[in-house]
C-alpha cells in the first residue's frame, strides 16, 4: 500500500509541477497577477507531494518491504538502520527521487525567501524550476519508477553494495545533490533574466546567495566523496580524476567561475551575458553529470543500449533544457546590455583572467573525461585518460589562476596601478619565495614541485594577511575590535575561502611530495618502519559485525626507537554475508601533521598477510581546505545585505520595469 501511495504522490507532484511551470510563466508573460500568484502555492504543494513520495520510499526500505524491486535489490534484513535509510538513494531510481526532492526543496526555499523580490521575477524563477522538475518526475514515472513491485516478493534483499555501507556515503550523495540541484536556482534566475530582457546589479544581488549556497554544498559533497574514497577504497588515494569524480568537479569549476563573475556583475554591472552563460553552463553540467554517472555511460558507452527508453529520454531532456536555454541566450543576450569599462589592470580584468582560466580548465577536464568515450564510440581505438594527463593539463592552468587570486582582492575596481600593487604585495611575495626556498628542507628533501606548491600557498596566505591588515587599518571606526566587527561577512567569507585554497594546496603538495608507503608481506611478530613509526604485526582475530564477518589485523605502533606503544591499529578484511563480497576496511590514525594508514591485503600462508602501510603527511589539510572554502561560502550568504528587506516591492518593481522609452 505504501509504495502505491508513493507512486500516486509522484503522479500528483507531476501535475503540480506542470501547473507550476505553465501558470506563473504565462502570468509573467501576460502580466496577470493572479496567475503569477500561484507560483508559491504550487511550489509548496509540489514539495509536499515529492517529500511524501520520498517518505514512502524510505518507509519501504525501513520496513524491509522486499516486494518492492528497489528494496529487494538494494537492501537486506540484516542491513543496519542508517544504511537502510541511505539505501533509499543507493539505486538509480532512488537517486532520481532524491534529486527531485532536492529540486522541490530548493524551489520551496525560493518560494519562502523571495518576499523581497519583484513578483514577476519570482513567478519566472519558480516556473522554470517547475519545468525542470516536471522533466525529472516524468523521467521517473516513465522509465525509472522507484516503487515498481516484485511479484512474488523476495524472501530477503540482495543487500546494499558494501562500499556504500559507510557513514560518509550516507551524507555524500545528499550534499552533492544539494549542490548540483542548487545551481538550478541560479539557472532559473538566469532564464528569468533572459525572458525579462533585463539583467542588472539587482538581479546579480538576488542570484548571488543562492549560487554561493549551492557551491558550498557542492564543495562539501565533493570533499566527502574524496574523503570516502580515501578511507574506504583501501589504497589511500583521495582523487583519481575518475570520470565520476570529474562529473562533479566540472559543475564546481563552472560554479566557481560563476560566483566570481556574479561579483563583477553586481558591483560593476559588467560581464552580464557571460554570467548568464555560466549560470546555464553550471546547471547543464550538473544535469549531464547526474545522468552520466547514473546512466552508466561512463563505465561503458554501450550502457545506453541496455535501456534505450531511458537513454532516449535523457538525451531528449538534455537537448531540450540545454539547447533551449542556449537558444534563448543567443536570442536575448544582446538585449542584456554591456556594463561599464575598466582598465587592463583592475579587479575586473583580474577576475576576467580567473574566469578565462577556469573556463579553459573546465573544457580540458571535459575533454579528457569524454575523449575516450568518443574514441570508443567511433571505433577509433581504446585509450585511457588518467591522472598523468589531467595533472599535466590542469595544474599549469590553475597555478596562474591561484597566483592572480591573491592579487585580485587587493586590486581596486575599474583601475589599479601596477606600481601600487607591487608596493602593497612585495613583502607577501618575498615571504612566498622564502617559503618555497626554505620550507621544503624542513620536511627533509627539496624538490621543485614541493617548493612551487608551498610558494603558491604562502603567497595566498601572505597576500590575505596584507589585505586584511590594510582593510582593518583603513576602517573609520575607532578601536580594533570595532573595526574588525565593522567588516562585512561576505568579505570575511571570501578571505576564508581563499585561505581554504591555500590550505588545500599545502595538503596536496606535502602528501604528494613526502608520502611513503610499504607494500609488504608480514608474519606475526614482524616489524616495518615508515614515517618515523614502527609497526609490529601481532596477528589477526575474528570479529563479527551486524551483517559481516571480519578478520581484524592487530598492529602495535611505536615511535622509531621507543618501546612505548603510541597506538594500536586494527584494519579489517570483511566478508558481507548477504552478497559474499569482500571489503577492505583500512584503519587510519588521523593527525594534524599527517595520517598513518594500514590496510590488510590477503593471507599468504602461515598467518602472514599482505599488508599496505602508508604515512601521509598533511593529507587532512586537503579536506580541511575544502571545508574552509564551504565555510567561506556560508559566511558570505550570512551577510546581512542579503537579508535586509531592501525596498518595497512596488518601488523595486517600478525601478525594474522595462522603461517606456
Amino acid at each position: 500500500m505504501i509504495p502505491e501511495l508513493g507512486h500516486f504522490a509522484l503522479v500528483i507532484a507531476l501535475t503540480l509541477a506542470l501547473a507550476q511551470a505553465i501558470l506563473p510563466l504565462a502570468g509573467a508573460a501576460t502580466n496577470r497577477a493572479t496567475l503569477m500568484g500561484t507560483a508559491r502555492t504550487l511550489a509548496t504543494g509540489q514539495f509536499v507531494f515529492v517529500a511524501g513520495a520520498f517518505a514512502a520510499l524510505v518507509a519501504s526500505f525501513m520496513a524491509n518491504d522486499f516486494s518492492v524491486v528497489n528494496v529487494a535489490t538494494n537492501s537486506n534484513s540484516r542491513l543496519p538502520g542508517p544504511y537502510r535509510f541511505a539505501a533509499s538513494w543507493g539505486s538509480h531510481e532512488g537517486s532520481m527521487l532524491l534529486w527531485t526532492l532536492m529540486l522541490a526543496g530548493w524551489t520551496f526555499a525560493v518560494a519562502l525567501f523571495s518576499r523581497h523580490l519583484p513578483e514577476r521575477m519570482v513567478a519566472r524563477v519558480i516556473g522554470v524550476m517547475g519545468l525542470v522538475s516536471a522533466g525529472f518526475l516524468l523521467f521517473m514515472l516513465l522509465t525509472s519508477n522507484p516503487f515498481a513491485r516484485l511479484l512474488p516478493a523476495a524472501a530477503d534483499g540482495r543487500d546494499l553494495n558494501p562500499l556504500l555501507q559507510d557513514p560518509g556515503m550516507v551524507i555524500h550523495p545528499p550534499m552533492l545533490y544539494m549542490g548540483y540541484v542548487g545551481f538550478s536556482v541560479a539557472f532559473a534566475f538566469a532564464i528569468a533574466a533572459l525572458l525579462e530582457g533585463r539583467l542588472d546589479a539587482a538581479w546579480a544581488r538576488w542570484s548571488r546567495p543562492w549560487t554561493t549556497a549551492a557551491w558550498s554544498f557542492l564543495t562539501v559533497g565533493i570533499m566527502l566523496g574524496s574523503w570516502w574514497a580515501y578511507y574506504e577504497l583501501g589504497w589511500g588515494g583521495w582523487w583519481f580524476w575518475d570520470p565520476v569524480e570529474n562529473a562533479s568537479f566540472m559543475p564546481w569549476l563552472a560554479g566557481t567561475a560563476l560566483i566570481h563573475s556574479l561579483a563583477v556583475t553586481e558591483k560593476r554591472g559588467t560581464f552580464r551575458s557571460w554570467t548568464v552563460l555560466l549560470a546555464i553552463t553550471a546547471f547543464s553540467l550538473s544535469l549531464v553529470g547526474t545522468f552520466l554517472v547514473r546512466s552508466g555511460v561512463l563505465t561503458s558507452v554501450h550502457a545506453f543500449a541496455t535501456d534505450p527508453a531511458r537513454g532516449i529520454f535523457i538525451l531528449g531532456f538534455l537537448v531540450l533544457v540545454i539547447g533551449g536555454s542556449l537558444a534563448l541566450f543567443a536570442w536575448r543576450a544582446p538585449r542584456v546590455g554591456l556594463g561599464g569599462g575598466f582598465s587592463p589592470v583592475s579587479r575586473e580584468s583580474l577576475l576576467l583572467a580567473n574566469n578565462v582560466l577556469l573556463a579553459v580548465a573546465l573544457a580540458a577536464v571535459m575533454l579528457g573525461t569524454l575523449y575516450p568515450l568518443f574514441l570508443d564510440a567511433l571505433d577509433a581505438g581504446k585509450i585511457s585518460v588518467g591522472p598523468p594527463y589531467f595533472e599535466a593539463v590542469f595544474a599549469p592552468l590553475m597555478a596562474p589562476a591561484i597566483f592572480l587570486m591573491a592579487v585580485g582582492p587587493v586590486a581596486s575596481w575599474k583601475r589599479a596601478e601596477l606600481p601600487a600593487l607591487w608596493t602593497r604585495l612585495k613583502w607577501a611575495f618575498a615571504v612566498a619565495v622564502a617559503a618555497g626556498l626554505i620550507l621544503p628542507f624542513a620536511f627533509g628533501r627539496w624538490s621543485p614541485l614541493v617548493a612551487f606548491g608551498l610558494l603558491l600557498a604562502a603567497w595566498v596566505i601572505a597576500a590575505s594577511v596584507v589585505q586584511v591588515r590594510a582593510r582593518i587599518a583603513l576602517a573609520p571606526q575607532s578601536g580594533l575590535s570595532a573595526r574588525i566587527a565593522a567588516q562585512p561577512a561576505h568579505w570575511y567569507g571570501m578571505v576564508i575561502a581563499h585561505l581554504g585554497i591555500a590550505i588545500f594546496i599545502i595538503g596536496v603538495t606535502l602528501v604528494k611530495g613526502y608520502e611513503t608507503e610499504r607494500d609488504i608481506r608480514m608474519a606475526p611478530g614482524e616489524k616495518t618502519v615508515i614515517g618515523g613509526y614502527e609497526f609490529t604485526f601481532t596477528g589477526t582475530k575474528d570479529v563479527t559485525g551486524p551483517n559481516y564477518l571480519a578478520t581484524q589485523g592487530q598492529f602495535e605502533v611505536r615511535r622509531e626507537g621507543d618501546i612505548r606503544i603510541v597506538r594500536s591499529m586494527h584494519p579489517e578484511k570483511r566478508v558481507y554475508q548477504a552478497s559474499g563480497q569482500t571489503m577492505t576496511e583500512a584503519d587510519i590514525d588521523t593527525g594534524f601533521t599527517g595520517d598513518l594508514y594500514v590496510s590488510l591485503g590477503e593471507p599468504v600462508g602461515d598467518g602472514a598477510w599482505g599488508v599496505r602501510v602508508y604515512h601521509k603527511p598533511f593529507v587532512d589539510w586537503i579536506w580541511g581546505g575544502c571545508l574552509m572554502m564551504a565555510l567561506g561560502g556560508i559566511l558570505a550568504i550570512a551577510d546581512k545585505r542579503y537579508r535586509s528587506r531592501m525596498a518595497s516591492h512596488a518601488k523595486l518593481d517600478a525601478a525594474l520595469a522595462p522603461s517606456k522609452a
Binding site: 562500499l163 542588472d200 582598465s343
Partner: protein, 148 residues
C-alpha cells in the same frame, strides 16, 4: 546497475592478493616501480592503477616491473613492453599519436583562445564608457541598500 558492476569488479579486484611485495624491498627499485605503476591501468579493475590495485594481475605486473628494472631495462622499454601486451588502453597518460592529437593539442588551443578573448575584451572595455547605467543604476543601488 552501476553499483552492481562496481561491486563485481571490486570483488574481483580485491579477491586475490597473490604474493605480496618482497620481504626486503630495495628502495630505489620500489620508487621507480611505483612511478611506473602509477601510470599503468589495472585492466581487470574499475578504474585503478597497477600501483593501487590489489588484483592478482596488478600484483603480477608490479613484480614484472620489479624484475625488468632489476634486469636494467629503461622506463621507456618497460612501458612499450606493457603496450605491446595490453595496447594503449594500459597507459593512463595517452601517447601522442594520430587518435590523440586533439586530446593533447586542444588544451593549448583553448588556452590560446582564452588569452585572445581576454585581450580583445580588455581592449574593448578600456574604450567602453565609464559609468554602467547612470541614474537607473544609482536608483537600483539605493533601493537595494535601503533598510525599509
Amino acid at each position: 546497475m552501476r553499483a552492481a558492476l562496481t561491486a563485481l569488479v571490486l570483488a574481483f579486484c580485491g579477491a586475490v592478493f597473490g604474493q605480496a611485495g618482497p620481504k626486503t624491498p630495495d628502495a630505489n627499485v620500489e620508487a621507480r616501480m611505483k612511478l611506473l605503476a602509477e601510470e599503468l591501468r589495472c585492466l581487470v579493475c574499475q578504474n585503478q592503477t597497477i600501483a593501487d590495485s590489489n588484483a592478482s594481475l596488478a600484483v603480477d605486473l608490479r613484480n614484472q616491473i620489479r624484475g625488468q628494472i632489476a634486469e636494467g631495462r629503461s622506463d621507456a622499454q618497460i612501458r612499450s613492453y606493457m603496450v605491446e601486451r595490453y595496447g594503449d588502453f594500459v597507459l593512463y597518460k595517452p601517447p601522442f599519436q594520430g587518435n590523440t592529437i586533439a586530446l593533447w593539442v586542444a588544451p593549448v588551443v583553448l588556452l590560446a583562445g582564452g588569452a585572445l578573448a581576454f585581450v580583445v575584451l580588455v581592449r574593448r572595455k578600456r574604450a567602453a564608457p565609464d559609468a554602467p547605467s547612470g541614474p537607473r543604476k544609482a536608483e537600483i543601488t539605493r533601493l537595494l541598500d535601503a533598510k525599509d
